[in-house]
Structure formats: structure tokens, C-alpha cells
Symmetry: C2
Subunit: 316 residues, 2 copies
């Protein structure tokens, strides 16, 4: 397999913490350049202010990975595809469903790879869980995704602004795992979104889905969780109860640990992207984002206590 | 072409006003039965309480058309497809995007026709407008969909309940036309939804989209319109300004009437459905519903005056 000349677009926190180390360690890739306007970039790698400037200067780049905020992702992805590059998108793949659909059509038409990456699907116990469930009959599913937004997104007001998705920013990771391990689709039947009186997006969600066969799937998301953080999926089957814990890194059956491994989500993502580029295939599963859009479309909204980043600033 | 034995499921107002007359007049169909629990049905046609009872009693039905509320549409459509019937869905094709996607996969797998009908696309001036625009370069689009909910949905509280979509119940018709006549997709960039303080769904929406080429598409929806009702789409091009008026029944260019014809939306729908059944093809375009979901996902919500059906019942 020839080495893929790849460029990172947007060299912010997620690029530094996850994408750059994964690419640095992989023999499948050569990091050819970085496009990032803020002057930062990894040592020894050419940096350009814009995607266009980078592609003009380094025309033999094969692929780009987009680590920019969702709001600018469509324009950059469409441009990269138009210039003949394979594209990997961080989650969520866009701010709207229609732009994801348009990128998918564009990639297909141009014969390029588009990979909408859901990093949580590459957590180590996800594939073992899928395999285990494949042989059993599911009775019910319970998704619990509860974390403290003050710890994980301190001061990041964008999460409460229109399009920021609030509690669905972490919750979509749980949905991306659930949709990957269950053998059949499920649909939202009803939901409640709790929205702080001074914010636009929900801080908590209580969702009730049904699968095509009619088994219940419930999901409880909460961004106000203090103490132990919960990223768990429980699946009751005809042969025991599976628990995927810690965001897919541990798998239990009837309380006994079956599988645990070192976290390697981003190396897994890039391995998958390399396979897709090699076969000129695409993988664009919008289902998790559709679930979020369905939740906004169908749920009852309840106004709850205003949210402030700390108790001392109720006058912000 | 053999006559299609069709059944109507859900014999409410839209079935009586539109579906039954269209089927009665068409030589392509024979109305074989009706499934409707409320005891009503057209004279001389066998009526059953449930879809299952009907399909048991009249097994040679070829196709069903679903005129039931969106909330029960998925279960009935999945059952009809599973029993080998072609299915036509009234708009919107479901309450969630994921159930529409699942029906599409099921129809494909089973080799049956699924038709997600957008009746406004069959308004008489829509196809002439599409043809006219196909030869011109669009500069901007302005959708104005303003009607009085008290006239068109008097007392129908479901429209204000979660999933009822509020102003998008009529607005989705405008979106279904715009997506049909414009040659390229457009995506929501920002929006404002005005939600009555005592209701769940918006009574007005102000949306700003961009097309893939970057031309602006604005949409203003309002359910509080008294006086003249507006269902207009204006498209400014390099060769004049097209206006589709009265919900797609009149086409003007630079103010001059070019096309006007008798309203025949439902006969047009059933003609299209017959063609699809004949070729065992499907037509499921979820784009208008995706736009609505995108609007709920991405827009700012503003609380506005409470809504009451009449000024005398502010204590309801």
C-alpha cells in the first residue's frame, strides 16, 4: 500500500491531542502539511494559513483530515473533494443533515473517499460487544451518558449556542456506539429535552426509542453529572446482560469483565481511513446525527434552572 | 398496464377530500378496500377496522396508500411492506428521519415500491418552473409561506405539540417545491424560530440557507398571517425573476403570468405512484423533512406571545 500524503486542516486541541499522534505513529501516512490560521503547527511540518494556499503549494497531497469546527466543515470538505482529495471528517460530520448528504453525493461523483468518523465506535470493546450481541436476542437497551460539562468543556459557551447541541455533543458518542453494536435500527418515539432558561441547547435529555422488532431503547443524557462520570450502555438479551462501560473501553457480561484494552480510537480511525482510501470507498453513516436531529424535532422542551459556569457568576 | 388494486388506510379528511376522488377518477386503480377504525368509508367499498384484518380478508391487494397521522405511519408502512404491498406515504413521510431511512431499506430489500409523496410538487406550475430555471443561472431565492393557522387548522392542537412541527406543517410544502425546482442543494446556515410561550412548536420561522454555489436562499414562514395568504417562491436569475405563486399553481416571469392550470396535485401523485409500481421503483426524497429537522437542530428559539385559538380563551 503506498504511503498516503495527508494534511491536517485545523490544528486545535483535538488535532494536537489525537490526530497528530495517531498519524505520527502510523506507517500508512506521511503528514505532508498543516492548514491552520492561528500560527500553530507541529514542528518540522509546513504550515499554511488556508486550505487553498496549502493545496496550491503542495499539490500532491492525497487526503485531508478536517479538525475544524462543524460550522466551517462543509465548505472546506467540498473544496477539498473538488480539488481531488480524499476527506476525513471529525464527528459530527456537519451542522446539518443536508450538507452531509451533499458531500456524500459529491464524493461519489468524484470517485473520492469520504469518511465520516465516529471515534467512539473505535473504542476497544465496541467490536467485541457487537460480535457478542450478534448471536443473541436483544430484549431492551439502556444508554446512560452522564458527564460534567464543567470538567469536559469548561467555559465553552458554543455548546449552549444554536447548533452547539448541548448534552448531545457527548451524547452523540453513545448513539454512535449503540447504532454500531445493535443489529437493527431504532427510532425515537418520544423525548424530553431540559433546556436551561438562559441557554439555547439542552443540558439533559430523556429519550425513548423502539427498534424495528419493537424492543425498547432508552437513553438518558445529562451534562450536570458530578461525582462518577457515566458512559455506559446496558443491553439485556435472552442470554445475559451486556454492559459496555467507560465509553466502550470495557465490556461486562452479567457483571463480569470480559474485555478491556488500551484506548486506541484515533489509530483505529486512521487505519479504517487508509483502508477506505486504498479501496476508494466511502463510509458516511449519518444515523447518529439523524437521531440528534430527530430528538430536536420530536421532543418536548422543558425550561430548567439557568446554567452558569460557576456559582459565582449568576450575573454573566 | 394492469389495474392496481389499492386500499386506503385511514379514511379521514384528506382521504375523503383528495385521495378518494383521485383514485375514483383514475383508470389505473381499483379501490379494493378501506382500513379505518372509525366506521366511516366510501359507499360500496368494503371497510375493515385494521390493516391486518383488511389484508387477511383481501389478500390480493397490490398497494396501500397511508392517510393516517405521521405518528402511526411507520408501523403501518413496515407491516404493509412486510406483507408484500407497495406503499404510498402522505407528507411528511414520518415523524423521524431514521424511520424513513429504515422504510426505504425495507422496500429496497423486499423489491416493493415506496413512494414518499410531496403533493405540492405536483402543483401545475412546478414542472414549468423547474424547466425554466434549468436554463438560467440563479442569483437568489426567497420563499414566503404565510398562512392563517386559524383558517387552515382550526382548533388542531396537535400542530403545537412535540412532533407537530407548527409552522413547518405548511412550510414543508414550500421546501418541497424549492428543493424540486432548484438545480442544486442548499443548506441551512442560521435560523430563528418563534415559539409561543404556551406551545412547543414554532409559529414562525426565518431561515437563511446557502446553495452549493453560494447563492442565498431565504425562507420566511408565518402561521399568523391574516388577510391575503402567501405561498410564493421568488427566484432571481441572470435572465429575469421567476415567481411561483399560490402554492405552485401560477408561474410569473418579471410579473407576467406564464402558466396557470387547474389544480390536479393528487391525480398527479397517483399517476406517479402507478409509474413507480409498474417499474417496481421507489421515490423517497427525505430532503424537505431533513430541512425541517435541520431548522430545529440549528436555529435560535425565541419565545413570543402565547397562542390561543381565539381571543376569548386566554384561560384555556
Amino acid at each position: 500500500m503506498p504511503v498516503i500524503k495527508i494534511a491536517i486542516v485545523g490544528f486545535g486541541k483535538i488535532a494536537r491531542d489525537q490526530h497528530y499522534p495517531a498519524l505520527f505513529d502510523s506507517p500508512a501516512y506521511q503528514l505532508a502539511a498543516v492548514a491552520s490560521p492561528d500560527g500553530a503547527g507541529p514542528e518540522g511540518v509546513d504550515r499554511y494559513d488556508t486550505l487553498d494556499a496549502m493545496l496550491d503549494a503542495v499539490p500532491d497531497i492525497d487526503a485531508v483530515t478536517l479538525c475544524v469546527p462543524p460550522s466551517v466543515r462543509y465548505v472546506l470538505a467540498a473544496k477539498a473533494l473538488a480539488r481531488g482529495k480524499h476527506v476525513m471528517l471529525e464527528k459530527p460530520p456537519g451542522t446539518t443533515l443536508n450538507e452531509v448528504a451533499a458531500l456524500q453525493r459529491q464524493a461519489e461523483k468524484g470517485g473520492k473517499t469520504l469518511f465520516a468518523a465516529w471515534h467512539s465506535r473505535f473504542a476497544p470493546a465496541v467490536e467485541p460487544a457487537r460480535t457478542w450481541l450478534d448471536k443473541r436476542k436483544v430484549r431492551s437497551v439502556d444508554i446512560q451518558w452522564k458527564e460534567d460539562v464543567r470538567v469536559w468543556h469548561p467555559g465553552q459557551d458554543w455548546i449552549w449556542e444554536p447548533g452547539g447541541m448541548g448534552v448531545f455533543d457527548p451524547g452523540i458518542n453513545g448513539l454512535s456506539i449503540a447504532t454500531a453494536i445493535l443489529g437493527q435500527p431504532f427510532f425515537l418515539r418520544k423525548g424530553v429535552l431540559e433546556v436551561p432558561a438562559n441557554r439555547q441547547t439542552p443540558i439533559a435529555a430523556d429519550l425513548y426509542f423502539e427498534s424495528t422488532d419493537g424492543y425498547p431503547v432508552s437513553a438518558v443524557f445529562d451534562s450536570r453529572q458530578t461525582g462518577p462520570q457515566l458512559w455506559d450502555i446496558h443491553v439485556t438479551t435472552d442470554e445475559g446482560r451486556l454492559t459496555l462501560s467507560k465509553g466502550g473501553s470495557q465490556m461486562f457480561v452479567d457483571g463480569e469483565l470480559q474485555h478491556e484494552a488500551e484506548e486506541r480510537e484515533y489509530p483505529g480511525l486512521y487505519q479504517r481511513f487508509a483502508e477506505l482510501v486504498e479501496s476508494v470507498g466511502s463510509e458516511v453513516d449519518a444515523t447518529p446525527l439523524q437521531h440528534v436531529a430527530d430528538a430536536f424535532l420530536l421532543s418536548e422542551r422543558r425550561s430548567v434552572d439557568p446554567f452558569y459556569w460557576n456559582d459565582l457568576e449568576p450575573s454573566e
